[in-house]
């Protein structure tokens, strides 16, 4: 009898929850939600937050070597924005009942994933342009639909993230444009960067639909509004004309505009490479995680000091009050 009642209650909670999502209303942290919804959101939001802070590293690699003061300041500000994105995404994630320490632990232990593209090295200044243009470009395509996702804190964080990302993308494109209007050496640098970042950027939109494990459920919860393949096509259609304007050649022999479909046809993606990098065999996987872990471990005594100091201050205040 008891059991029946519980089941009924659960059913009605689930009905309310699903009706809310269907009405495009937001789910807020204090609302009831199925455990699977909570877990999926912790996974996705934290993965997103981790990508932001790991993503600071390849670009941070060029801050001290930026070629002009203006570029140095712009790059610093950009990487700082990524830290800000990480901060509000972690905060959004924390509303689901998990601590930031735990989230960091998942990143450092390899349990949590981050965007694989950040495991590629940044070799020249043009990579900073290419990352802004392509990687932030692909990120925006992934993220714009999330501004209307069902979980309130995530959707609100994404509105701000997307605004800044679109600024970053323009900034990256402007770096590429400057290089392409420069000397032959600079043009070559830009072409080389496009050659190396093009395919990983396409992979960033995720595995093909038949390989993607989370799509169906995520669609229902509005965590996803288009499939990976649709997003990838959108990215290619939007980016190829931009490469044309730069006078650069997209490194795909099979790339061709299809008059019938109104889209670009493109070549085979090397998914073997994608999965190898996901599994930890990219050029910089180890460096990225150890840099994050190192920052956290070396910062422990600093965080401890801040807590100890704050405790002492509170103690003093209490004494004074007495």
């Amino acid at each position: 009898m008891e059991n029946m009642k519980e089941k009924e209650q659960m059913k009605s909670l689930e009905d309310i929850f699903e009706a809310k999502i269907a009405r495009d209303e937001k789910i807020e942290p204090k609302d009831w939600m199925p455990e699977k919804y909570r877990k999926t959101h912790i996974r996705q939001i934290s993965q997103h937050a981790h990508s932001e802070i790991v993503g600071m590293l390849p670009e941070g690699n060029w801050i001290t070597r930026a070629p002009s003061l203006r570029r140095k300041v712009a790059l610093l500000a950009k990487v700082q924005d990524e830290a800000g994105h990480g901060l509000y995404l972690y905060s959004a994630c924390e509303t689901l009942g998990i601590s930031r320490e735990e989230l960091y632990h998942q990143l450092h232990s390899g349990k949590a994933k981050y965007s694989s593209i950040f495991n590629y090295p940044t070799l020249t200044w043009a990579d900073i342009g290419a990352i802004g243009w392509l990687v932030d470009g692909a990120a925006i395509i992934n993220q714009v639909p999330l501004c209307s996702t069902s979980f309130g804190p995530y959707a609100r964080a994404m509105v701000r993230v997307c605004k800044e990302e679109s600024f970053h993308q323009r900034q990256g494109y402007e770096i590429m444009m400057t290089l392409c209007n420069g000397t032959q050496e600079q043009k070559d640098m830009a072409q080389d960067a496009l050659n190396r970042w093009w395919w990983p950027s396409l992979m960033m939109l995720g595995p093909t639909d038949d390989e993607s494990t989370h799509t169906e459920q995520s669609m229902k919860w509005k965590l996803k509004r288009k499939t990976n393949d649709e997003l990838r096509q959108q990215f290619i259609d939007q980016t190829v004309p931009q490469a044309d304007i730069l006078g650069l050649k997209v490194p795909d022999e099979d790339l061709k505009y299809n008059n019938e479909t109104g889209h670009y046809d493109f070549g085979e993606i090397d998914w073997e490479e994608f999965w190898q990098v996901v599994k930890g065999h990219g050029m910089c996987n180890k460096e990225r995680i150890s840099a994050r872990k190192n920052a956290w471990d070396k910062g422990e005594w600093v965080r401890d000091a801040a807590i100890a100091y704050a405790d002492k201050q509170t103690e003093k205040e209490v004494k004074e009050a007495v």
Binding site: I53, M56, L57, G60, I63, T64, R65, A66, P67, S68, L69, R70, R71, K72, V73, L76, A77, V79, Q80, A83, G84, G86, L87, Y90, W125, I175, T178, N181, G182, T183, E185, Q186, A291, N294, A295, W296, K298, G299, E300, W301, V302, R303, D304, A305, A306, I307, A308, Y309, A310, K312
Partner: protein
């Protein structure tokens, strides 16, 4: 006072901002918390922004056709006039904070005076920078208190950083011949007038942070005359890499 006096005087101020900004930039993405990472990057941004204003003014004053980037990236080591303090490495968070605090207090007092310069460029830069630097001073001062009066470990680390970096504080108050000429003309600042106030301020904060004041008889100097520690060459080879490898290009 010649233009050269004025340019050299500006290097004495702006190179501090550039090199410290460059040093802090190294930390971006590696801070002990995300919040401190963001705050430190802000300080680097402020310092580099100030640097640009000064160097743009140098480019105006110079008889050669140069830009802010020529000034920042194409001088040789002996031509940089920053104090030794700002080029010291990011040994650990205690060094970073102590270096910052020792510099911030000086920087704030300098700008307070520079605001009254007869030179409108200096007035404007000082006015804008003061807002930024008063925040830097609060950030580094608050952290120094936390480290000094935090745990036993943080206290030891903070004390070591104070002991090691104290020897670089005296140089902040050295005046080169250029500095003296520019100060006499009412454009520059006679920094010796706030030396006592500087040491009173930092001593008071160190006491509050339960740290000892080092008993130092001999101070390091040289940066203001372009004689730097060995760290400087590496900072420059990193910072100047692009400009040296690909000369005369637009970025």
């Amino acid at each position: 006072m010649t233009n050269e006096n004025l340019i050299q005087y500006i290097y004495g101020i702006a190179d501090n901002s550039l090199i410290l900004g460059q040093r802090i930039s190294e930390l971006c993405g590696h801070g002990p918390t995300l919040e401190t990472d963001i705050a430190m990057t802000n300080m680097a941004l402020d310092l580099l922004g100030q640097t640009r204003s000064y160097y743009q003014y140098v480019a105006e004053l110079s008889s050669k056709d140069i830009t802010e980037d020529d000034v920042a990236f194409l001088r040789t080591e002996r031509e940089y006039k920053n104090v030794l303090l700002v080029e010291q490495p990011n040994t650990d968070f205690a060094y970073i904070i102590v270096r910052q605090y020792f510099f911030d207090v000086f920087h704030f007092m300098l700008l307070k005076e520079l605001e009254n310069s007869k030179n409108v460029n200096f007035q404007a830069i000082a006015k804008k920078s003061l807002k930024e630097v008063s925040y830097h001073k609060r950030f580094s001062g608050d952290w120094l208190k936390r480290l000094g009066d935090g745990t036993e470990e943080s206290k030891q680390k903070a004390q070591k950083a104070v002991d090691d970096l104290w020897v670089y504080t005296d140089e902040l108050f050295h005046m080169t011949d250029h500095d003296k000429k520019v100060a006499e003309a009412g454009y520059g600042v006679d920094v010796t007038i706030f030396k006592t106030a500087y040491y009173e301020t930092i001593t008071a904060l160190l006491k509050e942070a339960t740290l000892n004041i080092p008993d130092v008889k001999y101070f390091q100097k040289g940066g203001k005359n372009g004689i730097h520690t060995e760290h400087m060459g590496f900072i420059l080879s990193d910072m100047q890499y692009m400009q040296r490898t690909y000369p005369d290009m637009k970025w």
